[in-house]
């Protein structure tokens, strides 16, 4: 008998003895705890901004692609850096031209293959990426692994993430409800910069991943 | 309309052998508020120490005897949360004979810890009296976490007008007795009671009040051995003394 069969048989035998825990509500029962609150756009933006700061992330806003490009360029130069790796996506595309024009060299990981790709991205200080969706009540960025390069989201020390205001959802329940089942199966959720408290519970940012995470909210 | 509260005493073995005063004071206080007290002859132990040590088959006859003895009483009251928790909750883990299953359920609904009975059943939470000292309160684990009783003792303490009640840090921190744990893991138990005593000392209280003699015995033992100033007092003793009973 193979392992699978043996394990399943062992489980079936074990479950022959019924539980004597009292009955409890089936998890499908709707409850307030899993509800999706009706939040206005401004409220979502405010929540997202406050939560981003609470998790030691940074927050900037832009009313247009041009404004975003300007602010991002300034962040890159301050880093200090003259180049950035970029993820694919419409928000990044919208700022790319202006950034390049401003003298920031943009490196698209997809233009490189295999080891060359990750080694190149790992050397670049700043990553400019976008999150197709974000959760307001925890400032969580949601990125589906849909074929895009993911390396700019976690190899750089400084990650600047573009988020569109209209893509904000209230909470994780709404996030998973809205995402198509195929998309949410391969997903990276990011809430703030990487951190550790493994030494004497002292919080330090920038463990193995980014040390700074800047969310740039696009209002248009 | 006066309802006569008839109370059957459940005397924990620790009270019987080591600290009868707390149980006697409980009797005095209950009588003072108008309850009629019955002492059921032949009572011994509910079986908790053996149960906590992992013995079940051996204590079944003891538990059955207890159930037979007490289940037809209107109310059974003990000056101990751990004893009441044993009967109210853990008796259901025992394979007693089927004929007693109904009685066991009935008993669980009629057995009370002393402060619970005074406050929740008799509706008395401010008995007055006088005790012009600073006191703090230790939440015994079974009383607090198995039975959910933590407000009632505090109400009774605050019900003494001239008492000064201060909460210690982490009042619900285990004192480290745990029955046989206290000698199976004695150094660990001592480390735990030492910590509790330091918290009592830091509170500035002259007395540490508790509702379980086992905890109090443990805490008192450490306080005395180390020449610390605070003293322990069972809540029944506190109430009796404050009322001059």
């Amino acid at each position: 008998m193979d392992a699978r069969q043996q394990i399943l048989d062992s489980i079936r035998r074990a479950l022959e003895t019924p539980s004597h825990l009292p009955d409890e509500a089936a998890p499908e029962t709707l409850s307030e705890a899993t509800a999706i609150p009706e939040l206005g756009l401004e409220e979502k933006i405010r929540l997202f901004r406050d939560e981003m700061k609470a998790v030691s992330g940074e927050y900037i806003e832009a009313a247009s692609a041009a404004e975003a490009a300007e602010k991002i360029a300034a962040l890159v130069r301050e880093a200090p850096a003259a180049e950035a790796s970029v993820s694919s996506g419409p928000l990044v595309d919208a700022v790319s031209a202006a950034l390049s024009a401003g003298g920031i060299r943009l490196v698209k990981p997809e233009t490189l293959e295999g080891d060359a790709r990750k080694n190149a991205v790992a050397k670049i200080l700043v990553g400019i990426v976008e999150a197709p969706c974000a959760v307001a009540d925890t400032a969580t960025l949601a990125i589906p692994l849909d074929g895009r390069s993911m390396q700019a989201y976690f190899l750089p020390e400084i990650v600047i993430a573009l988020v569109s205001a209209k893509s904000l959802v209230a909470n994780h329940f709404e996030l998973f409800k809205r995402m198509p089942p195929e998309e949410r199966k391969n997903l990276l959720l990011i809430t703030g910069p990487s951190r550790t408290a493994d030494i004497e519970k002292i919080l330090i940012l920038g463990a193995h991943g980014p040390r700074r995470l800047v969310a740039c909210l696009m209002r248009d | 309309m006066t309802v006569i509260m008839r109370v059957a005493l459940f005397v924990p073995c620790l009270s019987e052998h080591l600290y009868p005063k707390a149980a006697l004071d409980m009797v005095k206080v209950l009588r003072h508020v108008g309850a009629e007290i019955e002492y059921v002859e032949g009572q011994t132990c509910c079986g908790q120490p053996a149960f906590n040590s992992g013995y079940r088959k051996d204590i079944i006859p003891v538990a059955e005897r207890f159930i037979e003895m007490f289940s037809d009483k209107d109310a059974i009251v003990a000056p101990s949360g751990s004893c009441v928790a044993m009967v109210r909750k853990f008796y259901f883990d025992l394979d007693i004979r089927p004929a007693l299953v109904e009685a066991r359920k009935r008993l669980a609904g009629r057995i009370f810890e002393f402060t619970e009975y005074l406050v929740d059943v008799m509706g008395r939470d401010a008995l007055g009296g006088s005790f012009p000292h600073t006191v703090t309160y230790h939440d015994s684990c079974h009383l607090n976490r198995e039975l959910g009783i933590n407000a009632q003792p505090r109400k009774l303490i605050r019900g003494i007008p001239d008492i000064d009640f201060v909460e210690m840090g982490m009042p619900d921190l285990c004192c480290g007795f745990g029955g046989t744990f206290s000698y199976k893991f004695s150094e660990l138990s001592v480390a735990m009671v030492a910590r509790k005593c330091r918290l009592i000392e830091a509170s500035g209280a002259e007395y540490c009040i508790g509702a379980d003699s086992s905890c109090l015995m443990n805490i008192e033992g450490y306080l005395r051995k180390h020449g610390m100033k605070a003293k322990t007092l069972h809540i029944a003793e506190l109430l009796a003394e404050s009322l001059g009973l």
């Binding site: 493994d198 030494i199 002292i202 | 046989t180």
Partner: protein, 464 residues
Amino acid sequence: MELRASETKRYIKKALKDDAVRDAVDKATQTALAKRAEKVAINPFWEELRKLGHAAKRAVVERLDENLARFETECRNNGMTVHWARDAAEARSIVLGIARENNVRTVVKSKSLTTEEIHLNKFLIDEGIETLETDLGEYIVQLLDQIPSHLTAPALHLTRKDVGRVFHEKLGVEYTEVPTELLAIARAKLREKFLAADMGISGVNFGVVDSGCCVVVENECNARLSVGVPRVHVAVMGIEKLVPSFELLPVFLKLLPVSATGQKQTVYVNVVGGPQRSKSGEGPEQVHVVLLDNGRSKILADPQLRETLFCIRCGACLNTCPIYQQVGGHAYGWVYMGPIGATLIPQYLGTHEGRYAPFTSSLCGACRQICPMSIDIPHHLLKLRNRVVEAGESMKVERAGIAVWAFLAKHPLMYRLATWFPGRFQKLLKGSFPAPGYSAERALGRFDDKGFRKRFLELEKNSR
């Protein structure tokens, strides 16, 4: 370090004398508790989340065979390879097989207690495969050749000086005890490994049954770097680690970080649903899930103790346990420690090796109070104490004593007589009745010379 659960009494004695460890443990647990309390206080749905979590786990566990089969099907549909391991040896051999097939020379691991449980690291290293822990706490503990002392904070028992020392000795760097500098050292050393490793091994926090994906949560980004960069990813999952659906996943994504570290969310949530390299040119070409039994199906057989499989490994029970707070995690002698560990040790390791574990508790119940899954740990410890006794593992002296006590408890006259003796005896001793161990640091009360009954009857007489 080779620890044994049966040696726990010795470890406890030792821990009680180690002020440095006790201090570190005390500070760390109090910090963790305070942070958790803050987040719980601002969540009006906390108790409801706990109920939902319990109900969801119960639903999964009570039909575990169906759920595992479904999970397997969904994982396969997602292009993952699913393996079944009956025990630790089989699991190790499966992982080695995958490594050999893929010419793996270096492995990076994200924190997984399941892989500690099956002693995977040493096994792979002995087979010539470089196996590196990458979670900072685990990395430190691995350098010290120790096992983690906490479920979520592996190096909780260490100070910065300890870390500085081992980095200096084992990594050949200049001594520093500045935490940011220590992290920088680890980051640099591990970065090169992440980029060069052939295989990443992770655990699984939550396997989503209806979607066939493995969820790995973390803060350091080391799991991302382990599961998202090397060409092979192996996820080792205890069979109980399932959750029903994405609808309920957020419940667990909230309960775990709040309970473990006082965070609303962990920094990273990696949802792994299959190999990515053909789609994006990066990430794993192969994703393997190793479903591990290793005693879990046996635990399932007890309808009460089944609840111990609901654990999501947050470590909150450790933080709040007055015993853990005194002695730390190594005192328990196994990879699962603290209150939940005390329930798992006798179940996984047997009543002989685990004969002391269920007694390493005063049954205070703080663990049940804090557990996000509402596991009734004290109740389970009581049952396991009974199991130890029924297995004949209690001391003969105690068994004899209990038999005597039970006899006396049924014969009230003899019961009272039995205490008359110690009462008399102690008068001869001119002091308290000796109880070695107990009375080393505590004055023992005197046996009352009359006993309650006599005094009560006197009271009755006097009041008439």
